[in-house]
Amino acid sequence: MSFHPEIPYTTGQHRSERLLSPEGEPFAFTPEQRARFEELASHYPPERRKSAVIFALFMVQEQVGYVSRSGMRHVAAVIGCTPAEVEEVATYYAMFYKQPVGTFVIQVCRTLSCALKGAERVTEEIANALHIKPGETDTTGTFTLVEVECLGACDRAPVVMVNDGWHECQRPEDAVRLLDVVRARGEAGLSGCVHRVEK
């Protein structure tokens, strides 16, 4: 991607690049999903349905586990735009997985405030326990480990997201225990957000 002949771009993919996802199974929204999409699309002027593309892609990901090419084509058909327009959105945003991932995606915040509280070690402990590197999925297909950027809860560092679930103040010493908790109880085992005093 680099324009400099002697300085190649560092690693793998950048969000500004194009990336082809696997084709995946043939995809279509269920009638309920379609109705939910139409409800969301009605929040925008009729000729601006494309505004709801992110919602639609999340619905594909909910069902397939990642955004497949057949899913993107379906979204394009439902919105009434080209598949390329959907694809450029899907590849740009970090929360869309471009290929199949494990049952639980462990997303450790790596940005400064979390790193100052030991986030690098959280990642390291988990990576060692699962024998994988960040970005990879373990052999059982249970866990994918990802490093993500600031999640906006830096006072409760280090912050970890497991799929859409929120988990705060993850000490490096207990990082491996988090895996056991998630294996046993899924997202229900996470701390949630401490702002929530109702618990």
């Binding site: 560092t10 929040h43 790193a115």
Partner: protein, 434 residues
């Protein structure tokens, strides 16, 4: 300089996010009622007189921004609430939306009235799913009770507030990139002018306002511009939410006036440096602003105070670092962020960010050469101010400021061929280092 909280009173009380709580324990929707009895221009004048400045980062006067919205245009007008909150070290909008969402909804509705709009979109970052549930529930409650929808308070004013979910992009916080993202495209900035006030969302006049900014509007309407302005130093009025994180005893969000000093925020509000260590440096306004040293922090944490001290208030995210922190590593950590988050539209930022990260990683590993320091400065200098949006300046700043304040650490890394300050809270094997 303690102050009665205005934005975050009772946020720790159970059920503080419900409509009942907002109506019974706070002045719920009284300000909207009052604002609808005023003309839009009167509302804008009040906000102008209050001196409210945008809380998203740039500190631009909100009343002026609203006045610039082209009211005579025959097109629809829009409020876009910026709830992308992705600036490292910032987590105040998170608290507001989770614990006091009706305040934001009321602020959006008043904003719509002021600029002649009937729709506000709240663009919330995709990762805040737990916050979205609260916000959606609050919006539904507000519709049901008639504070949103058609003919509010029988005044003929219609207002819809919708939540729009993002999907992981820091750049979506930049106002024109936010608009692009709302239109269903990549979050990449537009060329300005035209500014959003003239051509924003769907090419219609648009005001983009931060969550905390809009949350300040109800109290201005209700209690008056003079009251609001008097809460802080001149031109820095009103309450402010400060986010303190990093190596402090009690990290958190603190509401205070902008008379409060950075020192007091760190030592009084956040309980000082953890583990009995010493302060080494603080980034006072989210990761994109210059570092302050311990002898520079006895200054008011206001827009003007911090500018005078050589930094910026930015998003008021204060990242505190103790004496075990390696400053080359800090720059490397932040450039990893900026490289990852660059939208890729402008070459200096997309490519330069990657070069900076690469050189910093090399120095941090102990493989740097002395000439790399000047090369870093030169590349950073070729990014700052040479991109469509302020992201470029933000990405260059961590490099420029760490070298300015801690050049000796860079030199020591290069001389000794290793990191001279490896803290035990860092990875044993550097992760994610390239």
């Amino acid at each position: 300089m303690a102050m009665e909280p205005i934005l975050t009173p009772l946020v720790r009380e159970p059920g503080s996010y419900t409509l009942d709580f907002y109506l019974q324990r706070l002045d719920g929707y009284q300000a909207l009622r009052k604002a609808l009895g005023m003309t839009p221009d009167q509302v804008i004048d009040a906000v102008k007189a209050s001196g409210l400045r945008g809380r998203g980062g740039a500190g631009f006067p909100t009343g002026m921004k609203w006045q610039f919205v082209d009211k005579k245009s025959p097109k629809a007008k829009y409020i876009c609430c910026n709830a992308d909150e992705s600036e490292p070290g910032t987590f105040k909008d998170h608290l507001l939306m989770e614990r006091n969402p009706h305040l934001l909804i009321e602020g959006c509705a008043i904003g719509c009235h002021a600029i002649g709009s009937s729709v506000a979109y709240i663009y919330i970052r995709g990762e805040f799913l737990h916050v979205q549930h609260h916000l959606e529930a609050a919006i539904a409650e507000a519709y049901k009770a008639g504070y949103l929808g058609k003919n509010i308070f029988g005044t003929g004013f219609n207002c819809d507030v919708y939540m729009h979910r993002g999907a992981g992009a820091y750049e979506a916080g930049e106002e024109t990139a936010l608009i692009e993202s709302l239109e269903g495209k990549r979050a990449q900035p537009r060329i300005k002018p035209p500014f959003p006030a003239v051509e924003g969302l769907y090419n219609c006049p648009t005001a983009v306002n931060n969550v905390e900014t809009l949350c300040n509007v109800p109290s201005i309407v209700l209690k008056g511009a003079e009251w609001f302005a008097a809460l802080g130093p001149e031109k820095n009025g009103g309450p402010k939410l400060f986010c303190v994180s990093g190596h402090v005893v009690k990290p958190g969000v603190f509401e205070a006036s902008m008379h409060t000093t950075v020192k007091s925020l760190i030592y009084d509000y956040a309980g000082g440096i953890a583990n009995g260590r010493q302060l080494k440096a603080v980034i006072p306004g989210g990761s994109s602003v210059p570092i302050l040293l311990p002898d520079q922090i006895d200054v008011p944490a206001s827009f003007d105070g911090l500018m005078k001290a050589g930094s910026l208030l930015g998003s008021a995210g204060m990242i505190v670092m103790d004496d075990t922190t390696c400053m080359v590593w800090v720059a490397q950590n932040l450039l990893h962020f900026y490289r990852h988050e660059s939208c890729g539209k402008c070459t200096p930022c997309r490519e330069g960010g990657d070069w900076l990260l690469k050189m910093l990683s090399k120095i941090e590993r102990g493989e740097g050469q002395m000439r790399d320091i000047d090369l870093l400065l030169s590349v950073a200098d070729n990014i700052a101010g040479k991109t469509l949006c302020a992201f470029g300046d933000a990405a260059a700043t961590p490099v420029l400021t760490t070298i300015k304040q801690f050049r000796h650490e860079f030199e020591a890394h290069i001389r000794e061929g290793r990191c001279t300050c490896p803290a035990d809270w860092r990875a044993k094997e550097p992760v994610g280092a390239h």
